[in-house]
Symmetry: C2
Subunit: 220 residues, 2 copies
């Protein structure tokens, strides 16, 4: 079994070891959500995974190493969900109106990304912890930036394929959509149901059928 750790060399790891690592990561997920990254003790994580503390230190240098591993996995998952949503649109019947296409996309997006309180709490914890700890800030920001760049490319394609364009600069449109999505997820932390109608309304408002090059162009 080969595992890619950050940007370092591939490291060969036995299957047993990989499973232990995975179980620790999953257990950490739950404990982080409940206690916070700093509040989660190594003991609690190990107990949740049915290991002793020694096993933890045999697999991770310290807690931050585990946090970084989780951070990468979660960010990846999040952007995979967005990617899937977009590629799902490509297969939609072509006689669908844009309005219905967006509705479909919202359903897909909701389905392909976990939106339970626990997962969202944990993600927020990770993000905040990365912002706070200098050693995590840079690698995390870089990782998000890379994923986001891929996503932007895909959105650009999808929009072009649907014969649509944004009524404001591309970067701002992306930022606003991301903002609306994050806001909705944040509300779930306080018990609200996920509800992407605001994002849907935003998308419909900031897009329009593509105009010919001559007539296009709107300054904002």
């Amino acid at each position: 079994v080969v595992v890619q750790v950050s940007e370092e060399q591939p490291v060969v790891v036995s299957r047993r070891r990989a499973q232990t690592r995975d179980r620790l990561l999953v257990a950490a997920t739950h404990v982080f959500a409940e206690r916070g990254v700093i509040g989660a003790s190594v003991e609690e994580i190990c107990e949740a995974a049915a290991f002793t503390r020694g096993a933890f230190y045999s697999n991770f240098a310290d807690k931050d190493a585990l946090v970084l591993a989780l951070l990468e996995a979660e960010t990846l998952q999040q952007f995979e969900a967005a990617k899937q949503t977009l590629s799902g649109l490509r297969d939609a019947p072509s006689d669908l109106g844009f309005d219905e296409l967006v509705t479909r996309a919202m359903v897909q997006l909701g389905a392909s990304s976990p939106s339970d309180r626990e997962t969202l709490l944990m993600r927020q914890e990770l993000m905040l912890h990365a912002a706070r700890v200098p050693a995590l800030r840079e690698p995390y920001a870089a990782f998000v930036e890379t994923s986001a760049r891929h996503l932007r490319g895909q959105i650009e394609e999808a929009v072009a394929a649907a014969d649509i364009e944004f009524v404001l600069p591309f970067e701002q449109a992306i930022e606003l959509m991301e903002a609306a999505y994050n806001f909705d997820q944040n509300r779930v932390l306080f018990g609200a149901e996920p509800d992407l109608t605001a994002l849907r309304a935003l998308i419909l408002t900031i897009t329009r059928p593509k105009q010919t090059p001559q007539t296009a162009q709107t300054a904002v």
Copy 2:
């Protein structure tokens, strides 16, 4: 000196005591930003305020009591800033175009609310801690809801006064503006400069000159 503690009876407190309380709250602000709410030790907070730990327990039942006090103060401050921004608009010269009016509002908003990394980190910490700890979740959510309701009323007035209307349902418009604002603040956590241009673009996109009742109405 009289201090209003949550919804309980007003409590008479000596001036000396009030000052001690304040110094502890300010100190906690810095320590929370650096270490997180859970990671901040009572010792550190007291040291930053130049008190001993006994003084802390003489003023707060425990750490969560202090967190709740800070939470209320910060939420209040945040909505005060928005309020000020709105009332500042009322005094603007009436020959200003809507575009310039919004630009002014963004400048005001940036100026009336602290947007340094430390403060924003601390606020995010408080929010997340409130989401995580059951005893804080309800009171915090209720507090935010009350403040938000006031703010919505003010926005409604300001929009009406400017002869403007939203192109999508009021609640969604508010949600999107709040989302864009929060998103910008979140980016500051990772070293970005505050930049409300996306919020500005959003406002200009989701508003239009008020139409007469007969011609108005847009379903979204």
